[in-house]
Amino acid sequence: MGNSYDIWLSAAVSTVSHINHLLEWFGDAEGVFRAKEKEITEDSILTPSEKAFLTSPVKEENRNSRYEYVCRNDIRMICRHEKDYPKRFDCLDDPPYGIFVQGKLPPPDIPSIAVVGSRRASPYGENVAELFAGELAAAGIIIVSGLAMGIDGISHRAALENKGFTVGVLGSGIGVPYPKENWKLYQQMREKGCIISEHGPGVPPLKQNFPHRNRLISALSDGILVVEAAERSGTLITVDRGLEQGKDIFAVPGRIGDRNSEGCLNLIRQGAFLVTKPEQIIAELASNYPSVRKNCGTYRQLSFNFPNDFEEFNENSENLILGIARDEKVVYDLCRLDARHFDELLSQSGLTVARLSEVLYSLQQKGIVRQAIPNYYSRKG
């Protein structure tokens, strides 16, 4: 457990190399705290804002308030030398000085997969992420991601919904959810999963900290699944870090011509595992980890099996239920993982507006179709 000086230092300095530099000079965090102002200000490596924080006239209050915050919110700080410090970080050149943890740390002998992708995902990407993260979580695999919008948030949610374990790695300080839309998710994950940050309380979401955060996401995982990424996406930083650390890269292909597919398709071209079903990842991991539930029986289908006796269905039959079932099949076959507008389904199914709305409603109630965006429908992943 880090002491109040460690917490203070982690809030003051964001970059690990700077922390290492300071510790080299002053021995430990307390030493940094007690350093003379001149020693800090004349340093050539630290940034001006770091110097300002380290020599702040209210640094005593800063230290106390952060220490209190950590105690009050059940946050643990685990420093590099402690035995609870995740072994997975050993592969890093610059392991964090300490990590702040809310919830419980993932057990080291359980496999984990990072599910990452665009923050501006398409309905297709959302469905794929939900499907994969849900299935993997149900198979007992830990889902690691970055609590961002888009693919990250959906993956975390899908894992929670399937009673799986999920880890969110923040780019901001602990207790600072970013984006704030994910505050509810943050709270749920604090209860049922785990939140990790290398930054102390109160550190705002700074742009430069996010690429760094990605090295922790990849380090915590056995493989990285990329769901949707543009050609120059931040997601690819996670992939690069993962490759440096020797992790497996999985990519779900998208349609050519779609902006959000470029990144994944490039990865596949460069030799990433092309995955089309969650089982393929599960099989890959099951060879190393006996704990993976290979056939846990919760696999959802990418297609829903309707009864096959529609051929005998008579047009004039008064069997209304069968009639609806037939239309349901027609409409379901028209739906895809990508969202399609009501009008498209209408002109291709040949149904009336009222009838199509009824059929779509019933498919939604069955949980196999969803309205991804108002008046746009997709298969549920």
């Binding site: 501006r120 919008m149 959000n260 009501f342």
Partner: protein
């Protein structure tokens, strides 16, 4: 000598009688105008004096006092010029007083004696008839407009001399012969022109049939404006009462061209999003000039790019949407103007406009949310129907499968409105959209299956109680369109669909998936 001439002042869109009292006596020579007058009324003194002289009747050196009574209402505009001129001549005993009795005068006079048109001639003629006057004199340009009122002789005159001649000379004026353009001109814009967009078209039909306000969301070029423009054409044909009221409004606003007769088509008002509060609600420093919401009475008020409108311009719609009228407070009193319109609003689904096409739209979920959040919940609560339109794929445009024409749809809408009028014959409202919550249980009877479906939709989607009422109103209209007495399953599921785009829900939904 003392005499009285009748004229009218505009109050809102209606006219109020004003007595122009003229007294000619001895004293310091000059013309004095009194009676709560604005500057342009007071300036009538110079206009009238010069015009009379140029017409061959120089004003003698007498003390002339003109009082416009009732003296406590503010008189504005130039419409009193003619009455004042005739009053002075009568006061000078040049025109016998009994000749001007039972008649009234309206019009501005130029220095050369030519009469200029004034706004609100229709309202004045209408009020003149109500007051029981025999005839009204108006400038030529106002003739058609004033001539719409039956039961009163309308004299359209060109100059001041003509008026005087008609009293003094042998040249008798003929009252205006009424010409009515009775047929509603079919608009060129037809519903059949719109290809694809089945859902949006259906939404428009429901909106027209039940009087529900409509919100269209869609990328640029998806045809939101095109659709909105065609909605007045599927509303029921305008009734004579509506036509008179509408013409009065346009007459007061000065928007009627002299050759155009009565307004026979439903208005389509399309204010730009830079519209000011006064432009939207009505206002102006003096007489209340009808705003867009009043000009849209009986027709469609189309607000394109809804989030771009100033917030107060949208907020001001709350009262009209609820009470179908607007009260404007001005320095000289409160004016109530009609404002009973069908609101059709359109907006892009995101700041760039192309969401959910991620190949074109790069808006972050947060930006989309903020864009949606620009619209006040209070207004959203008054919009029953919400449809998201997709970009029309090329093949749809080229195929051009023609749907039903506006005429056919209008027949359907009229049928549906008849059902409503019949059902609400003992009520104060006539449209499903105006069903108060208290009467919903009475009129919106659902089949048991429909009730089950609605209840389960509420559970799974987490709708609010307010939405529940709106869905039932829309369901009622859908059932009426289908000619069904009870609201069935398919009506409810369809109604639910038009709520999926409810802005409030969009926030949640984006929150869930992004």
């Amino acid at each position: 000598m003392f005499c009285v001439i009748n004229s009218f002042a505009l109050v809102g869109i209606d006219a109020q009688p004003v007595r122009v009292e003229v007294d000619v006596g001895n004293g310091l020579p000059g013309i004095n105008l009194v009676g709560s007058l604005s500057a342009e009324v007071r300036e009538a003194r110079e206009r009238v004096r010069v015009a009379l002289r140029n017409a061959g009747y120089p004003v003698p050196a007498k003390k002339i006092t003109v009082n416009l009574s009732p003296a406590d209402i503010r008189k504005e505009g130039t419409g009193f010029d003619l009455a004042i001129a005739i009053g002075i001549l009568t006061g000078l005993e040049l025109i016998p007083q009994e000749l001007v009795k039972g008649t009234c005068f309206l019009g501005e006079i130029g220095l050369d004696g030519v009469l200029r048109p004034v706004p609100g001639a229709l309202s004045c003629a209408y009020a003149a008839k109500e007051e029981g006057y025999r005839s009204i004199y108006v400038p030529t340009e106002n003739g058609q407009e004033a001539g719409m009122v039956e039961g009163i002789d309308v004299y359209a005159v060109r100059t001041l001399s003509d008026v005087i001649e008609s009293f003094l000379g042998d040249q008798l004026l003929e009252p205006l012969v009424r010409e009515f353009h009775a047929d509603p001109t079919e608009t060129e814009e037809d519903f059949a022109d719109i290809s694809g967009q089945f859902l949006a078209k259906r939404g428009a039909v429901i909106a027209a049939a039940g009087g529900h306000n409509l919100l269209l969301l869609g990328p640029p070029g998806s045809g939101k404006t095109m659709l909105a423009k065609r909605i007045p054409g599927i509303l029921p044909a305008i009734t004579p009462e509506e036509s008179i009221e509408l013409t009065k409004i346009y007459s007061v606003a000065g928007l009627i061209r002299p050759e155009a007769g009565r307004i026979m088509t439903r208005p389509f008002r399309n204010p730009h999003h830079t519209c000011t509060l006064a432009g939207m609600a009505g206002g102006g420093a003096r007489l209340p000039v009808p705003g867009e919401i009043t000009l849209a009475t009986g027709g469609v008020l189309f607000l394109d790019e809804l989030p771009e409108f100033r917030r107060e311009c949208i907020e001001v719609l709350r009262q009209p949407l609820e009470e179908h009228r607007v009260v404007i407070s001005r320095l000289y009193g409160n004016y109530t103007l009609p404002a009973s319109f069908l609101l059709v609003a359109a907006m892009n689904p995101c700041p760039c406009g192309y969401f959910p096409d991620r190949n074109r739209c790069n808006c972050s979920p947060d930006r989309i949310r903020r864009y949606m959040g620009k619209i006040s919940q209070a207004v959203i609560d008054r919009i029953d129907l919400c449809v998201e339109m997709s970009a029309v794929p090329f093949q749809d445009l080229s195929e051009r499968t023609r749907g039903p024409s506006s005429k056919e749809i209008r027949a359907e809408v009229e049928r549906c409105r008849m059902i409503q009028a019949e059902r609400y014959r003992d009520e104060s409202f006539r449209l499903n959209a105006r069903l108060p919550s208290s009467a919903l249980d009475k009129y919106c009877v659902m089949t048991p299956e429909a009730e089950r479906k609605l209840a389960s939709a509420f559970r799974s989607k987490g709708f609010s109680a307010r939405l529940y009422d709106r869905i039932r109103r829309v369901g009622r209209t859908i059932a009426d369109l289908a000619g069904s007495e009870k609201i069935g399953e398919e009506h409810i599921t369809e109604a639910v669909m038009y709520h999926a785009t409810d802005i409030g829900r969009r926030h949640e939904q984006y929150g869930k998936f992004v």
